[in-house]
Symmetry: C2
Subunit: 397 residues, 2 copies
Amino acid sequence: MSDLTSEAAARDAADELRAKRAEFVLDDGTVYLDGNSLGALPRAVPARLADVVEREWGRLRIRSWDESAWWTAPERVGDRIGRLVGAAPGQVVAGDSTSVNVFKAVVAAVRCAADGRDEVLVDAATFPTDGYIAESAARMTGCRIRAVPAADLADAAGPRTAVVLVNHVDYRTGRLHDLPGTTAAVRAAGARVVWDLCHSAGALPVELDAHGVDFAVGCTYKYLNGGPGAPAFLYVRWDLQPRFDSPLPGWNSHADPFGMTAAYRPADGAVRGRVGTPEILSLLALDAALDVWDGVDLAAVRAKSLDLTDFFLRCVAAYAPGAVTPVTPAAHGERGSQVSLRTASGEGRGLMAELVRRGVVGDVRPPDILRFGFAPLYVGFADAERAARVLGEVVGA
Amino acid sequence: MSDLTSEAAARDAADELRAKRAEFVLDDGTVYLDGNSLGALPRAVPARLADVVEREWGRLRIRSWDESAWWTAPERVGDRIGRLVGAAPGQVVAGDSTSVNVFKAVVAAVRCAADGRDEVLVDAATFPTDGYIAESAARMTGCRIRAVPAADLADAAGPRTAVVLVNHVDYRTGRLHDLPGTTAAVRAAGARVVWDLCHSAGALPVELDAHGVDFAVGCTYKYLNGGPGAPAFLYVRWDLQPRFDSPLPGWNSHADPFGMTAAYRPADGAVRGRVGTPEILSLLALDAALDVWDGVDLAAVRAKSLDLTDFFLRCVAAYAPGAVTPVTPAAHGERGSQVSLRTASGEGRGLMAELVRRGVVGDVRPPDILRFGFAPLYVGFADAERAARVLGEVVGA
């Protein structure tokens, strides 16, 4: 047994989150390091979803909108997500896709801006959909859009800036951006900030309220394990809610949705971020999936995440020297919960296909970035060691 | 046995769609006449959804985007819906809510319009969300909005009209609007029409292609039985697709979504109507639910629907004379698949609560409209007779 193998075993034995792994469906033959793309299945989900389908839909049918509390699920699930991103109750609503929520947030943020502010700044390395949607939002609100590297956004926000849209963790490199500092600078410049938490929610403490974030969006199918395409979420800070002027004022956001009145009158609170009828099966699967977070301290999740990624980087250096170069920052304050490695060969797809064939599942951002996500609730140190070892075998080091 | 009871039995025995009822989860104690709000559970759904959750998500995880064809599900399911609304393959995509699809369709329709057309006409009795969303779309595209009774829209469309948004069946009264005539008149006026098919898809033949409809949206949780909040759909006629300029250009609508490029380049075809990652669990439950339509002829569905609603109206007249007045038109050409009754007392909620207590489930549009939906795949003539008889008992006729 190598030193790294025995170190992994010792660390797994000492891991205070270790018991959480049993709450997921996993197979020992696979090291699943793609939870940053699709989280593993929590064991509680199948039975809960079967009950939703067979009893709530099948037997109670229409009565479930009230009796099974379907109608209020977006806010209820939103509050559960809120706890995991540092938002007090009443500020988060679950529903729609991240793209749709980016649209709501950017348009609403522009509408909150003072006259003369007509510039939307976007993280230049953003996950593409944020950029596409922000461009549409800018076009539809008479703004111009400018792409700026995330690290420079704090300085770039000026007197013409209405809103800054930025990813908390870069999907490609795994770099963690400075949420407290950027938020403070953008607000000091008189603009609003929209954070995309897709790669940080459930991976590390976010603390939206504590840092005075204006708006945030995120998905729930990565570290939150909500299932394929699980509903996204929207955070609107409580004091901005009365001014939240949605570009998608669907009937679910009406103050009296069953009054069926011709005039739109928005509801108070997070409900204002709703649009149409929520996709209940996906939403309640997410609700069940969130049970794994009960009692979990995000600080412990973060500590394990950093230990795991540190250890993985050490193992990669030992097993595959020279074959790959980390593009994820070494500094803890700049790292999310994934490790991205650039291949020396410049090739990514074939290499990852071989890793997958050997039971190590990550993914590729072409042409040459291998991504490995470390979901601290179910990934262990032995997984990290094995993944690096197999990578070393595959690159022939 | 009364004449109506024996007539119902004879009609049920002769019903060519009768066997379909066994494909749904129903209980003999309940007459479910709320399928126009939430369709009953098709028996095929639970096992299929359990497989999606336990094997596709739980075991294959990320591989299912390809191996289980999750990625292409919106178009595949869209084509299945297309067959039921008279759309050739490649024009319908499933996903998002009806409200979000109304926004896409109205904005895109305005963007197709010739210069100088800046008016959006909306069915004055529309389901509220369509009106709210159309108002937002108008505001964001520099148009003004005008509400016009659906029957007058054909005449109202003029040289300033960009788009007309109209419901195929009025959600409150059950009135069927003239899709062929209104479409032809709106197009002749040089404008575009967007039909909302929420209350007609799966209830009667729609024939979008045959009538030259421009755009259509609809939900799938009513007569299509897709489950609570099941994904909605968007139809863009094939020749308009190259000009379909979506206000929600999310990455799923990109020509090369995994290229992750900063510049947006829209995909060809129905895919262009997609936005973000689809809610797969809800989408594949809908996919399974659509199996009940295999081999079903919409003309037979329509014939049975009219027979059922005719028969129900006769039974109501016999069992509850004077207690209610139909607001749904008697003329077949003006009737959807629901019957709305205005109560003589002016009260609706209490009356419906008592009906539900006695096993007859409809719903209320306050203050005084009782709605009874007749889903021809699983509602029979004995159901209609019983519902009317219990209504008669409740109103004390």
